[in-house]
């Protein structure tokens, strides 16, 4: 269980997070819904340890490994889809990654450099990189951004299967994604200043 207590964060005097308190259950998928610019990404960066909160505490993260889908894809453009995914988890076999890419609708492109991919294809590689990483917690910041409706259904289904057993915090403002993914919803929680 991960507990965030009274997290506060300001940038140049502008309050972004004010007394945010929330609990992430072990092995569950939580969806955080809040308007754009409300501080969701700041919270994610605090959970990743990339930003220090001004006040508040986080319990339950010690010794846990975190996988993430950032707002940007953050892929190595010259590397293939296969290599980008295996970069973060050297124990993954080529066969496993190829199979998972195919299940995400990326069949036969595993050896292509991702610079040749469309935005939607890159997003799926970035998502799969996080899902297949050897981690206990997953933080997914708008992971289905840029996917067309038809592709999104299949990708969400596979994401749900791969998230099983992990503590997940998914950030979105899409109702369809919330309905499909959430086991626990934080709907416009207190403390996010928009």
């Amino acid at each position: 269980m991960i507990r965030l207590k009274n997290i506060c964060k300001s940038y140049d005097g502008k309050v972004v997070l004010r007394d945010v308190t929330m609990t992430l259950q072990e092995g569950k998928t939580h969806v955080l819904v809040a308007p754009s610019g409300a501080g969701k990404t700041t919270l994610l960066r605090i959970l990743l340890g990339l930003v220090e909160p001004d006040e508040g505490t986080i319990e339950g993260l010690t010794g846990k490994r975190i996988g993430v889908v950032f707002q940007e894809d953050r892929l190595v453009e010259d590397l293939s889809a296969l290599s980008n995914i295996r970069l973060v988890n050297r124990n993954l076999t080529r066969e496993r990654v190829t199979e998972e890419l195919a299940l995400m609708g990326l069949e036969g492109v595993e050896n292509q450099p991702v610079r040749e991919f469309s935005g939607g294809m890159k997003r799926r590689v970035a998502l799969l990189r996080a899902l297949l990483s050897d981690t206990d917690i997953l933080l997914l910041d708008e992971p289905f951004k840029g996917l067309d409706e038809k592709t999104k259904d299949g990708v969400m289904e596979r994401t749900k299967a791969l998230c099983r057993g992990k503590s997940v915090l998914l950030i979105t403002h899409d109702q369809q994604e919330t309905a499909a993914m959430a086991e626990e919803v934080f709907l416009h929680p207190k403390g996010f200043e928009s």
């Binding site: 990743l48 990339l50 490994r65 975190i66 996988g67 993430v68 950032f70 940007e72 953050r74 190595v76 010259d78 590397l79 296969l82 290599s83 295996r86 970069l87 973060v88 050297r90 990189r129 990483s133 981690t135």
Partner: protein, 237 residues
């Protein structure tokens, strides 16, 4: 096409001392190439310019590395790099001749031509490395060796490659110029100097063809080797 124009102009002038035709220049080249001295001179210049170039690449990359991580090193090195870039190569050659023997002059001059270019390009590459990818690697706990090999080197490579490409040609030009002034025995520069003294224009053209050919061959080989190694490093086992 250019060979035809050269041939036509050479024939029109009709005086080998002013401009030889390509036929005469290549004939002279064939005559030279059967002598042992021709190959000894190529070996002499190639090894020295190659050594100066390699040292320039290694030291330039190392200096850039330390400058990137230590501001004081950067402040110390910048004026030196600026000076090397601005001072005419002839001044370096003459100064070096006062201090050293002419035998290894081309090593030093090639080194000095390559050093600031490699320093500047490598530093620019390091500065342009994507901080978002670094952050991604740190969150996923990608080991340093994998980060360096698959992310950092891949981002740095285009800058280093461009630096190598530019400095290869320069190292040849400056290296041979140093030999022409220093006249070390059995060097390409010595033959160019002799061609000048004896007004032996066919030899001048023949040796110039050799220099251009060697420079192109050297550049193509080094860049092909770099591309091969970069590609090999990128493949994940």
């Amino acid at each position: 096409m250019w060979l035809l124009i050269w041939q036509a102009v050479g024939t029109m002038i009709g005086k080998d001392i002013l401009l030889v035709t390509p036929a005469v220049a290549f004939l002279r080249l064939i005559q030279l190439s059967v002598t042992a001295e021709f190959w000894a001179s190529i070996f002499f210049s190639l090894t020295r310019i190659g050594l100066g170039f390699s040292a320039g690449v290694v030291v330039g990359v190392l200096f850039a590395y330390f400058s990137f991580y230590h501001q004081r090193v950067r402040e110390f090195l910048e004026p030196m790099m600026q000076t090397i870039r601005s001072v005419p190569v002839a001044s370096f050659i003459i100064l070096a001749l006062i201090w050293f023997s002419s035998k290894n002059l081309s090593v030093l001059i090639s080194f000095l031509m390559v050093l600031p270019i490699m320093y500047q390009n490598t530093l620019a590459g390091m500065e342009s490395a994507d901080p978002l990818l670094k952050e991604m690697a740190s969150v996923f706990e990608v080991p340093a060796s994998r980060y360096l090999r698959y992310i950092y080197v891949a981002q740095l490579m285009p800058f280093v490659r461009a630096g190598v490409s530019v400095s290869l040609g320069l190292s040849w030009k400056a290296g041979v110029a140093a030999e022409v002034i220093g006249v070390p025995s059995r060097s390409i520069g010595e033959h160019l100097q002799h061609a000048k003294i004896y007004l032996d224009t066919p030899s001048l053209f023949a040796w110039t063809i050799v220099i251009v050919g060697l420079s192109v061959l050297f550049e193509k080989s080094v860049l092909a080797l770099m591309d091969f190694l970069a590609e090999k490093a990128r493949v994940m086992r």
